[in-house]
Symmetry: C2
Subunit: 305 residues, 2 copies
């Protein structure tokens, strides 16, 4: 049940090719699915990866370029067609909500499926605050307004030391409190420190999505302390000038951001179609980042825990 995975549905850029699909990821958080970006073909990738439409309740769109958006009308139409009275929330910039509403008015009439539009902006803000996780936005630095997302587990409960709990005769009603970190007070007023009754919880894990963006140290500041960072690496350093002029990053720069942010792991993606081989991306990022590096590829399920 403790699951926090990122599914790579697409990690190419600009246009779909036979090598890579355009941007799309699905976070699987304890069987709740949340999509980030939705390039053309995303719905078919959902089927290929056996991700259930019915479990998808949130879609986050980073910016309004076709390779991050144009799979959305088709995906939502299909969800509406399969509708069992559900709804989905699309978190998107205002202009994206406006055009999506118009498209759905033309292509998705006569359905009870509800699309909720949540207007986001390139700013630091907590978008979603659920029982076990939060989703936050932060600004990216692309040719058009762009938004990054952080998915953060809330602190987890500590593990009960069964032997000690029995020894101190802790009633069941107190267990949740103790798992949250409180000390236990016995019937005769003795304080039993929490550390004697529990062992530490697994660390709360977090994931940041940084695409599309130019290299910018403000991104590292905004994602500081995040466990795993997905950072676009549209180019290698041989195209650093092109990366900069187009508001994109190189693999080396993605590594720099991960280092500055103190991340444990870096996932690379959004590759330009000029590159066939992914190994050079990892090699280049390894020159600026000492942690784990994964070159995203379609079909990958990356465990974040």
């Amino acid at each position: 049940m403790a699951k926090f995975q990122v599914n790579i549905l697409g990690c190419g850029s600009a246009t779909p090719t036979l090598r890579h699909q355009p941007s799309c990821q699905v976070i699987d958080f304890r069987d709740r699915l949340m999509m980030i970006d939705c390039g053309e073909g995303a719905q078919l990738q959902m089927r290929r990866m056996r991700l259930k439409f019915s479990r998808l309740n949130h879609i986050f769109i980073s910016h309004l370029h076709g390779d991050h958006f144009l799979g959305l009308p088709g995906l939502l139409s299909t969800m509406a067609l399969h509708d069992t009275g559900g709804s989905v929330t699309v978190h998107v910039l205002k202009e994206g909500a406006d055009i999506l509403r118009r498209i759905m008015d033309v292509f998705c009439r006569d359905t009870s499926f509800e699309i909720i539009y949540d207007i986001i902006r390139p700013e630091r803000r907590v978008l979603l605050d659920e029982a076990s996780f939060t989703v936050e936005t932060f600004p990216l630095y692309h040719r058009v307004p762009a938004v990054g997302f952080i998915f953060r587990e809330k602190p987890k409960l500590r593990h009960i030391n069964g032997e000690m709990v029995r020894f101190y005769e802790v009633p069941v009603s107190k267990i949740q409190e103790i798992r949250s970190g409180h000390d236990f007070i016995t019937a005769d007023g003795r304080v039993i420190p929490n550390e004697r009754l529990t062992t530490p919880a697994e660390p709360a894990v977090s994931y940041a999505y940084c695409s599309d963006t130019a290299f910018d140290k403000r991104v590292a500041e905004d994602v500081r302390g995040v466990d795993t960072i997905y950072h676009e690496a549209t180019y290698l350093e041989d195209c650093a000038a092109k990366a900069s002029s187009r508001g994109h990053s190189t693999a080396f720069q993605a590594g720099e951001i991960a280092t500055l942010a103190g991340a444990r792991r870096l996932i690379l993606g959004h590759y330009s179609k000029r590159y066939e081989d992914l190994a050079p991306f990892v090699e280049e990022a390894a020159r600026s980042f000492a942690g784990d590096i994964i070159a995203a590829d379609e079909g990958m399920k990356i465990d974040l825990l």
Copy 2:
């Protein structure tokens, strides 16, 4: 060089599945490409079938359902990105042109690629009249306004009988006229009948696209005399009631239309996702049509000559 082919890019219905792509065909007429309908993923199917974007100058959209339209924004964005100063004409119902313009305004700024919008209606009309072929529209009978298309080769030139042409000393300047069917008049005023100088041309071939539509005899009237008919067969006869209520046809009904129209060949497609196997479609249509029957499948190139 004499080429008149239909490429099947997608022949499923409603939503893309791992078995079938949504509707899309490309007519290859002597290396000029014309697309009919453009479901999501059409641009990727173009790449798979090695059809060149640069050769595509006309796109015809039959009606405004997502499975016939939603690949268009992505395809046009990609064509704009590859732009070498070209243009494409999209023949589409007015509401489709309106929404497409809006979408392209958001997702395809800053390009010199020109999209020409040609507003069509469900009516009999010659849309395109080119040197060697015409494209005509006619009404279909679906839940929403829908348009069928007929692609017609113009009559071809007769073949010169070289021996006779030399015998009668026909000057080169007269050859084109004679290939068109005229008699030849010798210097001394004798009339040489055309049949003595030429052999017949290959017959002019035609292709009609009838999707989506309910079974309606008016369709057969409008495509009477067409050589090859593509007619939707969303269902088999076991779902005839559903076909009728949703403005679709069965394979048996598609065969009836082909028979009424006097066609030589019938291509079936737009299969509901409830069917895996295509053989029953051909078997059923063969009960109402005695000509050639082809069950369309993705990747097929069907020679119309």
